[in-house]
């Protein structure tokens, strides 16, 4: 096991940021912490990279104890915080050199690991980090987190606020790092990114709701989901919510995801009800649940 988290709790005054969190991450696994702002993701990261003491529980990272071996852990992990934390006044190259030196290595020694990321920012190597675009800053931060060849990589919301194109590029990079044998713990508020992880933990308000592979989490979803569509989205949502048999009603892109309380649900009855509510062009079709459906059902 690369990371073993055993009953970790952490509070800030009256706020329980982490409530009895336990999970394992295997060697060279890509493990995702999926949850919204305020779920406790950053607190957990800070505990696991030894920047913050847990109130209760214990954990090992790369086989080392969080408290006893914190110095060894710091040498073994790479950490990319959610907030850009490099030196804004140093250039791209100076930042990278600085981090290499701090960890007692050189850019050349581990260049192979960062090469395909670094070549993308190399044309700007003399630019100050503070003057880079968001996407470039991210790539530089990832290079700096990798320069000492860590065995475990912690990426705290690397794609938050990033457009879909750059998000996809970033995930391609993460996947390539995983193939090189690095264990990766990554957090994200984007549910669609969950499918790209080997296993995920759904987390909200300091509690883990479920841990499994994305496919298994979808399989465990307890209800049949229907895609419902009609001409007036707002009226459709309102009408579905008022329907006495509705279990959940969530807009999902061009459709509304609808689940019914009954086991013998007949879509034609729902269509009839919606027609009576003066909606037009109604379709009701069964669809596959997504991780986001699973999350909302668990968080309900």
């Amino acid at each position: 096991m690369s990371i073993v988290v055993d009953a970790i709790s952490k509070s800030y005054k009256s706020l329980k940021a982490l409530n009895n969190i336990s999970f394992d991450v295997k060697e060279s696994e890509l493990f995702g912490l999926i949850g919204p702002d305020g779920a406790g993701k950053t607190t957990l990261f800070r505990v696991l990279v030894t920047l913050l003491f847990a109130d209760e529980g214990k954990a090992t990272v790369a086989g080392f104890d969080l408290v006893k071996d914190y110095k060894t852990i710091r040498e073994s992990v790479g950490y990319m915080p959610g907030k850009f934390s490099l030196y804004q006044d140093l250039t791209v190259e100076e930042n990278l050199k600085f981090f290499a030196t701090i960890f007692g290595t050189t850019i050349e020694e581990n260049y192979e690991l960062i090469e395909d990321i670094y070549v993308q920012i190399e044309p700007f190597k003399n630019r100050r980090a503070g003057k880079l675009s968001g996407g470039m800053k991210q790539k530089l931060a990832l290079c700096c987190a990798l320069i000492h060849k860590p065995t475990v990589l912690f990426l705290d919301e690397p794609t938050t606020g990033v457009d879909p194109v750059s998000r996809k590029e970033f995930w391609d990079m993460i996947k390539r790092l995983q193939l090189k044998g690095i264990t990766i713990l990554v957090s994200t508020p984007y549910m669609d990114e969950a499918a790209l992880c080997d296993r995920i933990a759904l987390i909200q308000d300091g509690n883990i709701l479920q841990i499994d592979t994305p496919a298994a989490i979808i399989k465990k979803y307890p209800k049949l989901i229907y895609n419902v569509r009609a001409d007036n989205m707002y009226q459709l949502i309102q009408s579905l919510k008022l329907y006495e048999h509705s279990h959940s009603v969530y807009p999902f892109g061009e459709f509304v995801h609808y689940t019914d309380k009954r086991t013998n649900f007949n879509p034609d009855h729902l269509k009839l009800y919606l027609t009576e509510k003066l909606l037009s062009n109604i379709t009701v079709e069964i669809t596959e649940p997504t991780i986001e459906d699973a999350f909302m059902e668990l968080a309900k």
Partner: protein, 242 residues
């Protein structure tokens, strides 16, 4: 200006030195429309939006928002629009009630009107037990819902929302969109940016900016047909990747 057009943009351009951040963009937004304004980071969205809300002067071209010219009547625009962003919306150190009173005052509402609006808003959001809590102590999703309501205090014709749901949990994110639908249904025009592509599908029409230009503008359905894509995410990837 035609009655049903709330935003009219014609050849709007912004240059910083030699760099053209916004390159002659042209579009209209109708009354009560939910208009999605998408683009990759650095495509020029924020710069364009700053011109539309009257805080940045265009280098060339023109735009009218709520009937006022962005270059010569910027102050009128500010009074007649609502605005909220992910980064700044409310004061964390003020309570819910104080924030509402403060912004009501800024927008020139009378005391009686502020009181009335406060009660209305508190009830609608179900915040009866939280009016005296500091906004900073509330979950992000709540803050964003309050911020949206506050941006509508002075009943603007149009409200600009800059990534209003970033990081918000999936259930609250949907409640937020229901609020958007509700105000659009009442005739408020919504101009919204987002990185969630499922939210792009909630919009009546969507524009996608690439390198300073509006490269696509249509209903989500027609955009998907045009780009032969299953989802708006695919449309976005095809366009922004070039």
């Amino acid at each position: 200006m035609e009655d049903n057009k709330v935003i009219e943009v014609k050849g709007l351009t912004k240059m910083f030195g030699d760099f053209t951040a916004v390159n002659a963009i042209t579009f209209d937004v109708k009354k009560g429309e939910i208009f999605g304004f998408l683009g990759a980071n650095g495509a020029g969205k924020t710069t364009a939006m700053k011109m539309l809300i009257g805080i940045s002067k265009p280098t060339a071209g023109e735009a009218k928002v709520a009937g006022f010219d962005v270059a010569s009547e910027a102050e009128d625009i500010k009074k007649n629009i609502g605005y909220m962003s992910q980064k700044f919306a409310l004061y964390d150190d003020l309570t819910v009630k104080e924030n509402i009173t403060f912004f009501g005052g800024i927008y020139g509402l009378t005391r009686a009107r502020i009181k009335e609006k406060t009660n209305e808003l508190i009830e609608e959001l179900g915040l009866q037990h939280h009016t005296d809590k500091l906004v900073g102590s509330l979950p992000l999703g709540w803050k964003q819902k309050i911020a949206f309501s506050v941006s509508l205090l002075h009943e603007p014709k149009i409200v600009f929302l800059d990534e209003p749901t970033g990081g918000v949990d999936p259930i609250t994110r949907r409640q937020f969109w229901e609020m958007i639908y509700k105000s659009a249904n009442k005739g408020t025009t919504i101009f919204v940016t987002t990185h969630y592509m499922d939210e792009a599908e909630y919009c009546d029409r969507v524009s996608i900016m690439v390198n300073g230009k509006v490269e696509a503008l249509d209903t989500p359905k027609r955009l998907k047909e045009q780009f032969n894509a299953e989802t708006m995410n695919d449309v976005f990837l095809k366009l922004a990747r070039g």
